[in-house]
Amino acid sequence: MAELNGHGANGAQPPEAALVRSYIMSSGRATGTVPLDIESMLQLTWKGARDLPRLQFERASIASLCKDEILSVAELSARLHIPIGVIRVIASDLIVDGFLEAYLPSFGMADDVDLISRLIEGVRAL
């Protein structure tokens, strides 16, 4: 789960600086309280929308992106140039604080005949 050893977003920084910065963004933690997968999707809640002006730094960036779109952890990471592991920790905090709502992959999906049938129908119609 720990993904904070990666180089940070800013290519101009030496890897060490980016690494330190990643840790600072996530307050030195490697995992969040809510287990988020890379495809877990996030959306701003009414509380998040209300308090958005008061959020700061990466919390604000993540929350703003999730205002009009429901975005995955991976998309947030790509758009904000922040490593996936850091997004996970910060997003997890935002969920716990009630600012974000998460849509997690359905558990036991590989056995879910209805879901897979819907997928087949949907992909055929693409």
């Binding site: 495809e39 790509a78 119609a125």
Partner: protein, 200 residues
């Protein structure tokens, strides 16, 4: 389901589904993803723990290391609630690798094969076989050319009979759709086979 997290949105809650696209370096994974994705493929960085089983490109023999690798992915709205994410595995063919984070929760995988460099797909095949993840083997044609038949590739890679081997063209949306459908159909068969007849 995580109903307490999903209570607020009117209508059906989004359901993310993940499919992994694997294969050797330069086999066309990002092209494959891009042909069907609603968005231009995005790149993100993920940390991977790699148990090195050999010598890296600089001639160093290394122990287990953590490295950052770029990962390309795309997104397809399949219907009003299902969102399909296609993740290209980072190319680390010569190493043992930990794709666990990427593969955890995936519905299945597409292993893209360049039939001129069949051996590049061995690590991915081994990995998915061991993990018992549904997958299809898709031979990508280059410039419309296939250098080997599906039967030849199946034999060369000793692919189990229940695993489909198909031809594809990563640049062509219809071919990519067809490849995903072969995977989904296998997934469906396996799901049906696992369903214990119940009182339903």
């Amino acid at each position: 389901m995580h109903s307490e997290l999903q209570a607020r949105t009117p209508g059906r809650s989004p359901v993310p589904v993940k499919i992994v696209v694997a294969g050797g370096f330069g086999v066309g994974k990002t092209t494959f993803v891009g042909s069907i994705s609603d968005i231009a493929p995005l790149t993100t960085e993920a940390a991977m723990t790699m148990a090195s089983d050999g010598i890296d490109d600089r001639g160093h023999v290394s122990a287990k290391t953590t490295t950052t690798v770029a990962m390309d992915f795309g997104r397809v709205a399949v219907d009003s609630s299902i969102v399909l994410y296609l993740f290209g595995t980072p190319g680390q063919e010569r190493f043992g690798f930990m794709w666990n984070d990427l593969v955890k929760g995936a519905l299945g995988a597409v292993v893209l094969v360049d039939s001129r460099r069949i051996e590049d797909s061995f690590p991915a095949l081994d990995y998915f076989e061991q993990r018992n993840l549904a997958f299809v083997v898709a031979i990508n044609s280059f410039e419309g050319q296939l250098f080997h038949t599906t039967t030849e590739v199946r034999e060369a890679l000793s692919i189990a009979p229940h695993v489909p081997v198909v031809c594809t063209d990563a640049r062509d949306r219809r071919a990519v759709k067809g490849t995903l459908l072969s995977l989904l159909e296998v997934t469906l068969e396996q799901a049906k086979a696992r369903v214990v007849p119940s009182s339903r």
